[in-house]
């Protein structure tokens, strides 16, 4: 049994919420009605609260002058310097190996979002 964070209704689709879990601040993103992802609420750059940033899609790598929107609601953008992170893995888009936040498992049981890491 994991650590219960909130009822699933508390996080609308496309939004994020931040929880204090012991000494960690954990952000939970609801990227679809049945898909929740959690990650450390601290940007590796200057420590900004990622969960208080933006959850959206982004413009995908493309040809010059071309804009292709994709990954709707899967990209967490830091409210400060706008670094982009994959909500599912915590890895940054610009440097997936070197710049990332800790990613945690969350599951939904009986209508509640639980942290299982």
């Amino acid at each position: 049994m994991g650590q219960r964070l909130c009822s699933e209704d508390e996080i609308p689709v496309g939004e994020m919420k931040v929880f204090q879990v012991g000494r960690r601040e954990v952000a939970v993103a609801r990227i679809a009605s049945d898909r929740f992802h959690a990650f450390r609420n601290r940007c590796p750059h200057q420590g900004a609260p990622l969960g208080r940033g933006y959850l959206s899609g982004t413009f995908m790598p493309s040809d010059v002058g071309v804009y292709e929107w994709g990954r709707e609601r899967e990209i967490v953008r830091c409210p400060w310097h706008r670094y982009e992170f994959d909500a599912k893995t915590g890895r940054s888009l610009h440097d997936p190996q070197g710049c990332r936040v800790a990613s945690y498992r969350v599951e939904v049981h009986d209508g509640f979002v639980e942290l299982t890491d």
């Binding site: 200057q46 420590g47 208080r52 933006y54 409210p79």
Partner: protein
Amino acid sequence: MTGVIDCDIHNEFTNYVEDILPYLHSDWRHYITNGGFRGVAMRPFAIWQGGERKDTRFPDGRKGSSTYESMRKLHLDEWNIEYGILTGSVSSLAVNYLGQPDWASALASATNDWTMDRWLGKDARLKGSIVVSAQHPEKAAREIDRCAENPDVVQVIFPTRSPATGAWADERYDPIWRAVERNDLVAGFHIALDGGNVPAPTTAGWPRSYFEASAGCGIPAQSELLAFLCRGTFIRFPGLRVAMLENGFGWFPSLLWRLDQHWRELRAELPWLKRKPSEYAREHVKFSTQPIEEPFQARDLAKLIDLMGSDEYLMFSSDFPHWNFDSPERSLPPGLSQDVRQKILTTDARDFYRLG
């Protein structure tokens, strides 16, 4: 953490027109009430997801920088700010780019009365900047004399790019520098991407993205600083202090090297430069840090400071509440000595702005 002096905190309008209307001389109010005027900023660039940190906004979307109470909570108390230099809404700098000089003067005065009434005198930590309209240098000088009577006014702030008429170092602006100098204020030059009676921010025309425009922030700053240093502004106004605000500083070492090199070679063309240009720079110019340079190796910032020839050029700034805010705790990289950190975080600004 120990106290920090923050040289670039934006106290912003909730709504420019509504905020300054009460302070606008009655002769001019009809421009707003009947003229449909909406504001001075003519912004060629939209910033995706806005120019502010999302986590500084009230739930109803208002800016956290638009009231003293929220600024105190979100920033002054949050980071143990010892002194904050308020730099106003960047949009207010665009008065300098308007075509109507007397209207611009009226707007500048109203903006300053708003600043002095709503922001100064509430908190011993807050010092302020005033704006003037460059279109009419004599009027600007009188406005500086007027506002300088407020002991918390420490700076006259300008957009980095001079209006289309020519460099800030042009003789036409002498009345302004004379007024700044006699009132012992700092002349601050802050990046502003607005349009109006002003050239493009590069010599290759207008950038096509905010990304490109912002990456080129040093270009207008270098242009203006070159003019100040070569044309003898600091010789004619020996008490003038210049703060370069939010223009970057990574470009500065090589500019100084080139200036001193040419002084060795071509001094005869500028015979009023009796000392190296870098010496005048050291005496008269400082830089705010945000957006802090991020060398490929973070520790190399210490090398960059060495290359500037003085470790007293930099003054910490956060740029609250804007998106590329620098954290007082996390933005200075490792590799700086404790002495240099202290200078950046407090001493350089304390000396330059004559703070307690």
